[in-house]
């Protein structure tokens, strides 16, 4: 089957959990990981007689997002009720915004792998409440589901894009960009594995060159970029195959299971999607004053673009390094501490993006949960930069810090890992190794130029072995070349 005659149209709806201490309409805590239903109060449980009171911080965070994407701010916004029955929503409706959202039209620029940029228009972003969680598995009796309402009422902004993306790469670049923005301005912790950001992907296809939109499907609740890519690729292929086989795409909601790599239809929109919205009588219009908007604008934290530019300017990072570190708020903060402590920003950047990031990835940890603190990494980088330890020793020290054995200096001391950089001592070592390996030396002298270069490694190995790995390899290399040359 060929897909080349088709083009894809993608729009995203992104749910961002706001980093408030309490729920959007109640004073119950939003801390992650609490025991089930211990953070669900009478308001969250929709007990009769309760009334919602809007969280000021949630409103401010939403406005900050609007300012960050240069959007119109809804100075007067209002809440609606979206009615549906599901046990994780005790009220029987979700309090959300429809007619007058708090954030209007805006723009997000994405950068693509080929270096080009593309503008993705934001249709609007609105405030709403999260639902609880249904647990279907576990030890419950047959035929029941367990409901945890700790998450019910957690403030969200739902960011709705225009259908401006045309492939998975663009959709993921957009998702990453939003992640970068909301974490940079501190309105979301960005912990995707905990559901802090969740993506609904609207996909349709149409014959290349046509302008009418095809029927779209919505794949809901993707919480990783990888799943997003897989879900989009599969859905595009499914739709094209379907149409080419003479079928019709149905407007429906789909779920993608990242473990089994299978998507399935959740419900057909036409039968269920009648939410009977109406203005929420419990909540009055929300007014955000010009003074508040200006104050939030003045105090808006550094945005990713500005930070990347500063990293190039202030630390001399390459464009690439500045983009990688500067787009991730947590990584950027970590790097700045490590750079200050080590007094060697470039090396600190290499270690942050290299060894540390790889290790965190392999353990599926976010940088904020890193067992190696930024100060500790900075301390390690400082010892590499001043030649106290070699790169190889540094990896050993890094592992030890990771394992909780203390700071770089403590570990270097405890393990006797000092790198020998004293020229006199190194010369003595080289001379000794040459003297005890006469056959190798003869072989070296009798070889031609190109072969000699390869044979250098053999001597290096012997010397590093003799020094128990503590000799400074760059210096040994120099001294060795010089001593061998003298023999020619």
């Amino acid at each position: 089957m060929s897909y080349s005659g088709w083009e894809t149209v993608i729009g995203l709806e992104v749910h961002v959990q706001l980093a408030t201490k309490t729920k959007i309409f109640s004073g119950a805590s939003t801390a992650f990981g609490a025991e089930a239903n211990t953070q669900a109060c009478a308001i969250d449980l929709a007990m009769p007689g309760t009334l919602p009171v809007l969280n000021k911080q949630a409103v401010h965070y939403a406005v900050m997002f609007g300012l960050a994407i240069d959007a119109e701010i809804g100075k007067e916004s209002a809440f609606e009720r979206k009615n549906y029955f599901y046990p994780d929503s005790p009220k029987g409706y979700q309090t959300t915004q429809l007619e007058k959202p708090i954030v209007g039209r805006g723009n997000v620029e994405i950068k693509l792998a080929d270096g080009s940029t593309k503008n993705v228009r934001i249709h609007h972003a609105h405030l709403e409440e999260d639902a609880g969680k249904s647990l279907h598995e576990g030890d419950f009796r047959h035929g029941v589901s367990g409901i945890d309402l700790n998450r019910a009422g957690t403030p969200l902004i739902e960011i709705v894009s225009e259908p401006d993306m045309s492939n998975a790469e663009e959709a993921i670049a957009f998702a990453k960009r939003l992640h970068s923005i909301v974490t940079s301005i501190g309105i979301c912790d960005g912990e995707m594995s905990q559901g802090s950001m969740r993506f609904d992907v609207n996909v349709s296809v149409r014959p290349k060159g046509t302008s009418e939109l095809g029927t779209r499907t919505e794949t809901k609740n993707l919480n990783s970029y990888k799943f997003m890519e897989e879900a989009i690729t599969k859905e595009v292929e499914r739709q094209i195959d379907l149409i080419e086989d003479g079928g019709t795409v149905m407007q429906e909601t789909r779920l993608y299971n990242g473990d089994t790599k299978v998507a399935r239809s959740m419900r057909s929109k036409e039968e269920a999607n009648d939410y009977r919205y109406f203005p929420c009588p419990d909540l009055l219009p929300v007014i955000v004053s010009d003074e508040t908007i200006e104050e939030l604008r003045r105090n808006l934290p550094e945005l990713p673009d500005a930070r990347q530019a500063r990293f190039i300017e202030q630390y001399g990072l390459s464009d690439y390094d500045a983009a990688v570190i500067g787009s991730d708020a947590a990584m950027a903060a970590y790097f700045e501490i490590a750079a200050a402590k080590s007094a060697n920003a470039k090396l600190a950047a290499n270690w942050t993006m290299g060894e540390l990031a790889a290790r965190l990835n392999s353990q599926d940890l976010s940088i904020s949960k890193s067992p190696v603190t930024a100060e500790q990494l900075g301390g390690l980088v400082m010892r590499i930069a001043d030649n106290s330890i070699s790169g190889k020793m540094a990896k050993e020290v890094f592992e030890a810090i990771w394992a909780g054995e203390g700071s770089a200096d403590q570990i270097i001391d405890a393990r006797g890992l000092k790198q020998v950089s004293d020229t006199g001592a190194l010369e003595k070592m080289v001379v000794e190794v040459l003297a005890t390996n006469q056959a190798m030396v003869d072989d070296y002298i009798n070889s031609d130029e190109t072969k000699r270069k390869k044979k250098l490694g053999g001597f290096m190995g012997k010397i590093m072995q003799a020094s128990k790995g503590q000799a400074n390899p760059q210096q040994v290399n120099q001294i060795l070349a010089q001593k061998l040359n003298e023999l020619l």
């Binding site: 239903n37 953070q39 109060c41 809007l54 969280n55 911080q57 029941v144 419900r267 009977r276 929300v286």
Partner: protein, 95 residues
């Protein structure tokens, strides 16, 4: 504007309300009269009148973001039909 039997049935399903065969005609008539009122309202010329999101001339008060609720799970679950390990139990729901 009158409301069809089919729409009544759909609304009943969406609202999880059982409407008996004997009342369906009455419900239909009542809802139709509500819709007639809406028709009347919609016939009014509202050019230049800004839509209101709330009938009261007041604005929403905002609450400081401070935890003010304590854990009352035991009290709430004491009046729940069924619970286990801190969870509320409901008939199995899988879409």
């Amino acid at each position: 504007m009158s409301i069809e039997r089919q729409e009544i049935e759909k609304l009943a399903t969406l609202s999880r309300i059982a409407i008996g065969e004997d009342t369906i005609t009455e419900v239909s008539q009542r809802l139709s009269s509500v819709l007639e009122l809406v028709d009347q309202l919609q016939a009014v010329n509202t050019d230049g009148v800004e839509a209101m999101s709330h009938p009261m001339k007041a604005t929403q008060r905002l609450r400081e973001d401070e935890v003010s609720e304590i854990n009352q799970r035991e009290a709430f679950q004491a009046i729940a039909p069924d619970t286990e390990e801190g969870l509320f139990l409901v008939p199995k729901v899988i879409e």
